[in-house]
């Protein structure tokens, strides 16, 4: 019981953020048949733009930013993120899809990812930055921690998970209920058909690329004060989100979210597990889940992964 609680409180918040990234990967794959390798770094761009506007590139403490300025920074960060995502589609993906060049979009999205990563690193060269926290969770419990039995956890993990869940529900609802969302579903099932009946295909796909990053960025920014952030933060979110999306075969939003949450819980379980003398620890929590995903995809490949032999 103690172990389970420990896993849930330490893995849930991260997992919910992975889930939102996985929703983005799934949406992009279903609309364009591509893997959005720059998604993580686009999210990183959102995080660091927010940090830049909120506190500049110098050292910050969690308390040094006013709520007003933080909200402004959040808005700027998300807008930059959405614009970068949509721009990434228009410049690094769409031209190559039109030409049927897989190498083109792979190279394009990777180049975008590394360009963004390098840009973040040149402004924020240190290996970790404290992210300002506009909500005073540190006043709750003992300096932000609550003790249940012999497990202590940060109060804000509950908040992060809640925000992420709300965003995921919103995303799923938007895809199901709004005209734009239904347009995206039409594109996913039959692109030519959608074009014929007048769905603005290019605009909606660009929007999807933008929102895929933007929505995940909001959740990442919410989670960012929990631990120092670096240029790698976004990149790793992208990789783990992709792994979660692969598990559910780029499936629908709620499934992708669940996969992301499960991924986070698995990470936490591996980091905390001790079987007799064997303690795995955090270094295994990075490697084992990814290896399991690769194994799973290899053992039970999705139908659309295999070459079409007629």
């Amino acid at each position: 019981m103690h172990f389970l609680l420990q896993v849930v409180v330490s893995g849930l918040a991260a997992g919910c953020v992975y889930g939102l990234v996985a929703i983005g990967h799934g949406l992009v794959y279903r609309l364009t048949g591509t893997v959005y390798l720059a998604l993580g770094d686009v999210i990183g761009l959102g995080i660091f733009t927010t940090l830049l506007v909120a506190a500049g590139t110098g050292p910050v403490t969690q308390t040094s930013v006013s709520t007003g300025r933080f909200l402004l920074a959040l808005a700027v960060g998300v807008v930059v993120c959405v614009v970068a995502g949509a721009g990434g589609y228009l410049f690094a993906v769409q031209p190559f899809l039109q030409r049927g060049s897989t190498l083109g979009w792979v190279g394009g999205t990777l180049a975008l990812a590394f360009a963004i990563h390098a840009a973040i690193e040149s402004f924020f060269p240190r290996s970790g930055y404290v992210f300002p926290d506009p909500i005073p969770f540190r006043r709750l419990g003992e300096a932000g921690y609550v003790v249940v039995g012999d497990t202590s956890f940060q109060v804000r993990t509950v908040y992060v998970a809640g925000i992420a869940l709300a965003l995921a529900a919103l995303a799923a609802l938007a895809i199901d209920r709004t005209p734009s969302g239904r347009g995206m579903q039409a594109i996913a099932s039959d692109r030519e058909g959608a074009l014929v009946v007048g769905v603005p295909v290019e605009r909606l796909v660009a929007l999807a690329f933008g929102l895929a990053g933007g929505v995940a960025a909001v959740a990442s920014i919410t989670a960012a004060p929990s631990a120092p952030v670096s240029a790698d933060t976004g990149t790793l979110l992208g990789v783990k989100g992709l792994a979660a999306a692969l598990v559910v075969r780029f499936g629908p939003a709620w499934l992708a979210f669940a996969a992301g949450a499960a991924y986070g819980l698995l990470e936490a379980a591996i980091a905390n597990v001790s079987l007799g003398d064997l303690e795995l620890g955090p270094e295994y929590s990075a490697v084992i889940p990814l290896a399991l995903v690769l194994l799973l995809v290899a053992a039970r490949p999705p139908r659309d992964a295999l070459e079409d032999v007629e």
Binding site: T102, L103, V287
Partner: protein, 598 residues
């Protein structure tokens, strides 16, 4: 045979196997490595040379194998880490590098077993995950990477020589030359041609008996091993295993090199990697001016270089230059081998049934095909003709019924084994391999029966492999001659007319040395003259002893060439017999023929 003739033959074989261009490149590089380098950063050049070797390997997987791998940096890391530990334990430098290559090759087999059969988009996803698994492992496990300070690697000697930067530079250039030679050789061999075919039209390649998964796994693992070899030597030059050096950014740099230089050529990756290397000098200069670390600008500049090359829609530097230099090549000088008569064959199908969910596509179908007979399968659209052909060829398994060839049960045998047994099918659409020449298209089929055509035998140009390569070419040319396309042997298949492409599909099928041919609408889109040509060809094939089953819409052609006609309606046979008998059948007229006069 005189000595002179034997020598001439050997020279021609070597040229065919390895290619003149590769010899020239090899000679140039060997000469270059002897030119003394001074005043420039030799260690930087050597390091770039090793990267170029890894990129040539990646270029083969990407350009020939059609697998856009983003894991090559990890395989370089495999080689580097393994070689680093081995040298630490006292293994000689070269042995350590070779064992590093083997380790990377094993890693390549493991990752390749997962992704090599996937479509490119899943190859990207899978190799991206693999890259990060390796990066996390290096980052997290000190025993693997040597901890925070890294594992120091300092061999005393390399084959008795002092391990200076200059020695590494010469070694790197030598390895570049050898890897180029290997790339050229394999790309033009049966192995390479079948790989390219499988990348362009998987279904058509499988129909000719190619096994794409096996070939791709070989290419992927081979590319990984080449990367590991480069890493195994490069780590000795670095003198330390740097855990941060083999992450995603190395995979990215190598892919940039391949794409900028040109993925489809041997030389492209080398040119591309040196272009990226030159950029890093620019990055150094910017860094000195701005007083920051150059490592920040290198990936940025590489990304910009790649985006600008991609934006022009170019295939890379080398193909762009080659396109300017290319002249029309002389026709292939070889002779076609006279083809023997196919052995007798008897194919029997009894009570075949195939369902797709609720839909019954074929039911109660009996068929018999024999040598020197042409049978036609006719019927309205959607009556199950192509499905029947696919069941016979083995790309679909029937729910009920049996198929036998010469009395041997065949019902569950996979398609590629049926091709080996002499039962081959052409596809309905124009499924030639557009970026291969007509001769290479036929070679895909002709390669099926090669026994000594594997990648290693080809690389070492063993006598058996050379002799067999000659026979295979002759057989491919004979197949082209059989459909009267030998004049167009060196034309790219994509530039042929529609009906020429259909004839080429038949030629590729003939090159597998079949006994039974299953042809799916060979006459589609053919004009009058082309129909005559096709009718003549089918007549000749029958006379030579083949058994032919053609799905055909053109009833005039059916009447001219068929000995027997089977009419399908809604998946079930409606009538069968000679063309005259079938035409007289009232049910047939009512169901189908009434709409079209014979």
């Amino acid at each position: 045979m005189t000595t002179v003739e034997a020598l001439r033959d050997a020279g021609r074989d070597a040229r065919l196997a390895w290619g003149l261009g590769a010899w020239l490149a090899l000679g140039t590089l060997l000469l270059a490595s002897l030119v003394p380098v001074s005043g420039i950063r030799v260690d930087g050049l050597a390091q770039t040379g090793y990267l170029a070797v890894a990129a040539v390997g990646l270029g083969f997987a990407v350009g020939i194998g059609g697998m856009p791998s983003v894991a090559q940096g990890a395989f370089v890391g495999f080689g580097a880490v393994a070689a680093g530990h081995l040298i630490d334990w006292g293994t000689p430098a070269v042995v350590a590098a070779v064992l590093g290559a083997l380790t990377a090759g094993v890693g390549g087999v493991v990752v390749g077993a997962a992704v090599a059969r996937f479509r490119p988009v899943y190859v990207v996803a899978g190799t991206w995950i693999a890259t990060w698994i390796f990066a996390f492992a290096l980052d997290g496990f000190p025993w693997l990477s040597g901890g925070a300070r890294g594992l120091t690697v300092s061999p005393d000697e390399i084959v008795g020589l002092e391990p200076t930067a200059t020695l590494h530079y010469e070694l790197a250039l030598g390895l570049v030359a050898v890897s180029l030679l290997a790339h050229r050789t394999l790309a033009r061999s049966s192995f390479g041609i079948c790989l390219r075919a499988a990348g362009q039209r998987p279904a058509a390649a499988v129909a000719l008996g190619v096994r794409p998964e096996r070939l791709r796994l070989g290419a992927f693992a081979g590319a990984a091993a080449v990367g590991g070899l480069a890493g195994g030597f490069a780590v000795q030059l670095d003198a330390v295993v740097d855990p941060d050096a083999y992450g995603a950014s190395l995979s990215f740099t190598l892919l940039v090199g391949v794409l900028v230089g040109g993925a489809a050529t041997a030389l492209g990756p080398v040119v591309g990697v040196f272009a990226v290397g030159a950029l890093s000098l620019v990055a150094d200069a910017i860094a000195r001016l701005t007083g920051t670390e150059s490592a920040r600008f290198s990936p940025m500049l590489a990304a910009l270089l790649l985006l600008s090359v991609l934006a022009t829609g170019s295939e890379g530097i080398v193909p762009a230059i080659a396109a300017k230099l290319r002249r029309s090549r002389a026709p292939e000088p070889d002779r076609a081998a006279p083809s023997g008569r196919p052995a007798n064959a008897r194919l029997k199908a009894r009570g075949l049934e195939k369902r797709f969910g609720e839909l019954v596509a074929v039911r109660d179908l009996d068929l018999e095909l024999g040598s020197q007979r042409v049978a036609a399968l006719v019927g309205p659209n959607g009556s199950g003709k192509t499905t029947a052909l696919r069941v016979l060829a083995g790309t679909l398994l029937p729910e009920r019924g049996t198929i036998s060839l010469d009395g041997r049960e065949l019902t569950g045998t996979p398609a590629n084994e049926r091709v080996e047994l002499g039962l081959v099918r052409t596809l309905q659409s124009n499924a030639v391999f557009p970026d291969l020449t007509a001769l290479e298209n036929a070679l895909v089929g002709a390669s099926l029966r090669r026994r000594y055509g594997g990648a290693l035998r080809t690389l070492f140009a063993t006598p058996k492999a050379r002799a067999e390569a000659r026979e295979t070419r002759a057989r491919a040319l004979a197949a082209l001659a059989a459909v009267r396309l030998d004049e167009r042997a060196s034309a790219l298949a994509g530039t042929l007319t529609g009906s020429e492409q259909r004839l080429l599909m038949i030629a590729s099928a003939l090159a597998t040395e079949p006994r039974l041919l299953l042809l799916d609408e060979p006459s589609a889109g053919a004009g009058r003259a082309e129909l005559d040509r096709l009718a003549e060809l089918l007549g000749r094939l029958r006379a030579e002893g083949f058994a032919v089953l053609a799905v055909e819409h053109n009833l005039r052609l059916v009447r001219r060439i068929a000995d027997e006609v089977v009419v399908l309606d809604a998946g079930a046979p409606l009538a069968s017999g000679t063309p005259a008998e079938v035409v007289g059948d009232r049910a047939v007229r009512a169901a189908y023929l009434g709409r079209q006069s014979l």
